[in-house]
Every structure is written in structure tokens, then in C-alpha cells.
Amino acid sequence: MTWSPYALIEAVMPHLSIAPILLPLLTACVLLFLSEHRLRTKTAVSLAAALLNLILAVLLFQWTARGDAQGTYSVYLPSNWDVPFGIVLVLDRLSALMLLLVGVIGLMALLFAVARWHKAGAHFHPLFQIQLMGLNGAFLTGDLFNLFVFFEVMLAASYGLLLHGSGPARVKAGLHYLSVNLVASSLFLVGAAMIYGVVGTLNMADLAAKIPQVSAIDRPLLHAGCAILGVAFLTKAAMWPLNFWLVPAYSSASAPSGAIFALLTKVGVYVLLRLSTLWFSPQAGESAGFGSAWLVWGGMATLAFGALGMLASQRPARLAGYAVIVSSGTLMAMIGLGRPEVTAAALYYLPTSTFAIAAFFLLTELMDRSRSADPGVQRRPEDEEDHLPFALADLDLQPGSNLDDDEELLIGQPIPASIALLGLAFICCTLLVAGLPPLSGFVGKFAMLSALLSTPETGGTLTAVTWTLLGLVVLSGLFAMIALSRTGIRFFWAPVGRKAPVLNSVEYLPVAVLVGLCVFFTVRAEPLMRYARDTAQVLYQPQGYIDAVLKTQPRATPTNAERMGAPAPQVLP
């Protein structure tokens, strides 16, 4: 047999799926032991770990992707308990995709932070690694309570990252963010406890197998529990009206934190997709399709809110915050429809929109800084309140500035390279967020809309829901384009006689890579769509997931061998 990297992965496979949790955890522990004076060492360790995390995610992604359409699952029992009792980690196509997303955005945000942001306060690197651990864990776990724990890990790190750099605006936004998330966590606990009280298990696959058997008397209680749990996830996924906290918090966070926060809402979306396909599949009897109407209408309200918010905001960071809401609303509405082909398109849209928004968050920082040519000046967030009408002072014409009738000054005035690069990245982000051709934002939206319009089950007639959603997606694109081109004109065209901003290549690289990935998504749209289609198909056949988890046996060890009917392994004296 010839050697291949797959053979190596296969050899360590069930164990490799816990590596994305262990690696950032151990790195964070190591980083805590290094003093703040050894920033160079800390940076090197942190960057190496983030790079390794990305490599792990790529390996796991390839491992799941090469399986057939029936789905490849890796089930890992961290404590070697029998399945419904212990914690399980489950890796499937969807989690592998999300892990890859964390790997890429994590590395890029860290690279951006290394240029200057990591010096703005203590313990940036450990917090960042714990953030990665929480995200990876939330995507891997197959247990409801373990999901709560990873949610809390992720949130605890995000509080730290939000407050990183301090300042009144951040502390105020952080206080609100903390209170909202603590209440959401309480709701999570209440929901999980109610579900445990009714069904008697917290394993997601076991729950999926037992939900159809719940008696009619207990079913309303189960549904109430699921609804309360859902509110917690919807708060995280920023559904209107539970998303008022998002824009102030995300726009006051430092740019690398903002980029990683673009992922946090996707955790909510991921959990909604995972649990709704597992628990409320057509096999779930009375519970089939529970809450999907809420998801569709709530998603549409979120989409409308986000689009209007984009029109109303002036600061680039706030625009990025509303772009998060628009992306999340689109995904929730599409997932809520519960149609595999629509979900497949949404799964193509999810990574590309997340990359675009993360790049936009990083870019806003560079744009804000470009307003003063001196890179040493750090604009404080409280100077950046939204004033209406925007920047009238900026628009005052100075004597000698060029107008259309007086074109002489335009000639021979070169565009500085840094402004050109920033402008190019901004145009790409605009195209991606608004969903205009030729970039992948358009491909994603087009795939979703064409999937929406093909209705084999209703015999060719489109329902009002479909039309509303279609209209909203198109309108939100228009609104995003108006808002973003207005900001682009203000930042790149209107200022006259400004010095060229200093552009640090380490800071520009992550933006370029993220935008470049979206270009890659455009070029390789067909194979990526195929992956998304297979993923969606596997998601809507939850029996494979349930069987894979419930049939996993713990390994025979001296302590449990007798119980499992296996000969006890020889223990060396």
C-alpha cells in the first residue's frame, strides 16, 4: 500500500477530532506562563498555534469531504463512557466546514492583531486562543450541556476580547453585551433542563432518537423547552428583536475582535441548523418542523432590520455590524424553509459572507485610521459617534479643490498606492456584502434565489413567503450597495488634499487573503456547491448521524472490560 497523508489521518482519526479543542487550550496555558514582557515569544507561539489549528481544520475537512454522500462521521468519546451517558464529540461535514471557517478567520484576525492591537492590553493572546477553543468545541460537541459549556467558554473569551483596549465606549458596550448574554445563558440552562426533565437525556443524537416517542402529555413541555432553548440561540444568532446589543458591541470592539465576532453569530446559526435538522426532521412525528415558521419570519424581520440599519449608519464599523445582521437573517430564513436545496445554497453563502464581513471589519479599522495620516494617532471609539447628517464638515470645499468644471488639478495627481489598495479591498467587500457580480456574494445569493424559485413540491406555484423572502434578499442587496457606496465616496473620493495613509503590509495581508478566498469561492463555485449540496443532503437524513453516534462503543479498558464482555487488556506490572 502506498503511503498517503490520508493513511496517516486514518491512523489517528477518532483522536484527531479532539485536537482542535486541546491545541488552543494548551497553547493558552503555555501563553499564561509567559510574562507580558516577552511579547515576541508570545506572538510566535500564538501564531504557530493558530497556523496549526488551520492545518488541523484542513485535514479534518479533507477527511470528511472524501467520504461518499452518505456522510462520514467521526465519533469520539473523550471519557470512554457508554454513549448516551458520557460526552461525545461528533465530526461531520457541517462541523468540518465550520472548523475550517474558524481556522481561517482565527489566523487572519491574529495576524492583523499582531501588527499593533495585541499591545493594547494584557492577555490578548491567551484570550484569543480560548476564543478559538470555545468556537471549535461548540462546533464539535454532540452533547447539549457540553454545548452550553463551550458557549460559556466562547462568551467568556469574547467578553475579554470586546473589552480589549478598554475605553468608556467599549466598557459601556461590554456591560450591555455581558448582561444580554448572561440572561441568554440562563435561558439556555432553563431550556436544556426542561428537555432533560422530559426526555431524560442530553445527548443530541439520543434526543433525536427519543423525541418521536415522547408522550402526547409531555410534548407541550418539550416544545416549551425547545422554544426557550431556541431563544438563547436566536439571541446569539442576532434575530430581531433580540439583536439590539450586536451593533454597539461589535462596532466598538477592536478590529481583530470584530472579525472573530463575525463568527460568533454563525455559531447560533450552526446550532439552529444542527438541532432543527436532528430533532424536528420529518421522522420526528408530532414535533416535525417545530419552530420553522418562526425561523423564516424572524429571519426575514432580521434581514429587513439589518438592511434598514445599513442605510441609517455612517461609520464603517457600524455598517459591518449591520452586515452581520443581514447575513445572519438571510441564513436563518433560508434554513427555516427546511428545503435541502435551499440549505445547500445557504451553506455556500455562509463561509463566503463570513469571510467578507471579517475582511470588512479589518478594513474599517484601516479606513478609520486613514482619516489621519499619522499612524500613531489612535482614534478613540467615543470620537466616532454617528452624527447626522454625516460629515458636513468633511464636505466643505477648500479653495483650489477640484470640481467638474475645473479639471486641471485632477491631471497629474496620482492616486497613492495605499489608497488604491484600500479602495480595491473596499470595492470587493461592497460587492461581496451587497451580493453583486462577479464575486461569490452574487453566486451565493443567486444559488439561494434559484433554489427558492424551483418548487417541485408545490407544483410550480410560489407561496407568499417565498416572494417576500426573495424581495427582501434583493432589496437588502440594494440597500447595502447604497450604504456602502456612500461610505466609499466619503472615505475615498470626497477628501481633498489629504496625505496618503501609511499602510502596514502585515495588516493588509489578512484583508487581501480573506477577499482572495472569496475570489477562490467564485472561481471554484461548482465543487464547493457540490460539497454544500452533499452536506445539506446528509443533514436532512439525520438517521445516519443518530446511528453513527449511538452505535459507537467505548474501548475496553481494565475497568470496564468485564461489563463490556471483552477480555481485559493486559496491564503491565
Binding site: 473589552l163 466598557v171 456591560l175 448572561l182 432553563v190 433542563a193 432533560y196
Partner: protein
């Protein structure tokens, strides 16, 4: 016993929600504490209430929930208490930072309320 516990959870949660909606940061943190007490008691109660029964197996006693109390919610509530405690401590730090920056204890940093 059920009614007593239910009333206790209800009162704690109601007080927690009311305090949470108040404009002072101290009231908010007290509200969050009361809310988490209510939630913890609620988790505890999902294992069904039982008198004089223990979660640890005793040799010779049949392993059903008739003879034992469910150990799972107790384990869950322990985790929830630890996490809730840590989050309250973190909230306290942010509360003090907010007070330091804005010079008052209003959640929005504006001292003109009330």
C-alpha cells in the same frame, strides 16, 4: 414540597427580572444573581423532588429512580453554579470599570436618570 419550590423559583426569577430592568448597574448585577439562583433551583427540580434518597448507588438496592434521586441535574447545577459565579465576578469588574470611566452607576453611563 413542590409548591414551595415552585413559588421560590417564581419569586426569585420575578425579582431577578425586575431588578434586571432597573437603570443602575448594582441592581442589574443583583438581578442577574437572583435569576441564576432561580435557574439553578429549576435545574435541580428537573430531576424530580425526592426525600431521603441519595444519588450514589448502594449495593443490594434496586437501581431505579424509585430508590435513588437523579444525579444528573445535580452535576449540571454544579457546573452552572461555577460558571454563573465566574460570570458574576467578571460582571463586577466591568461594573467597576464603567463606574470609573463615567463617574456614575447608570447602565448607559448617563447620570441624569431618576
Amino acid at each position: 414540597m413542590e409548591i414551595v419550590l415552585a413559588i421560590a423559583i417564581g419569586v426569585l426569577t420575578a425579582c431577578g427580572v425586575w431588578l434586571l430592568l432597573r437603570p443602575r448597574t448594582y441592581q442589574v448585577i443583583m438581578g442577574l444573581c437572583l435569576l441564576s439562583y432561580g435557574v439553578n433551583l429549576f435545574i435541580f427540580s428537573t430531576g424530580r423532588l425526592a426525600l431521603d434518597s441519595e444519588p450514589v448507588l448502594i449495593p443490594g438496592v434496586l437501581e431505579t429512580l424509585q430508590n435513588y434521586t437523579d444525579p444528573m441535574p445535580q452535576a449540571l447545577v454544579l457546573t452552572a453554579i461555577v460558571i454563573g459565579f465566574a460570570m458574576t465576578a467578571l460582571f463586577l469588574v466591568v461594573l467597576l470599570a464603567q463606574r470609573g470611566f463615567w463617574g456614575n452607576d447608570h447602565v448607559d453611563g448617563q447620570g441624569d436618570a431618576e
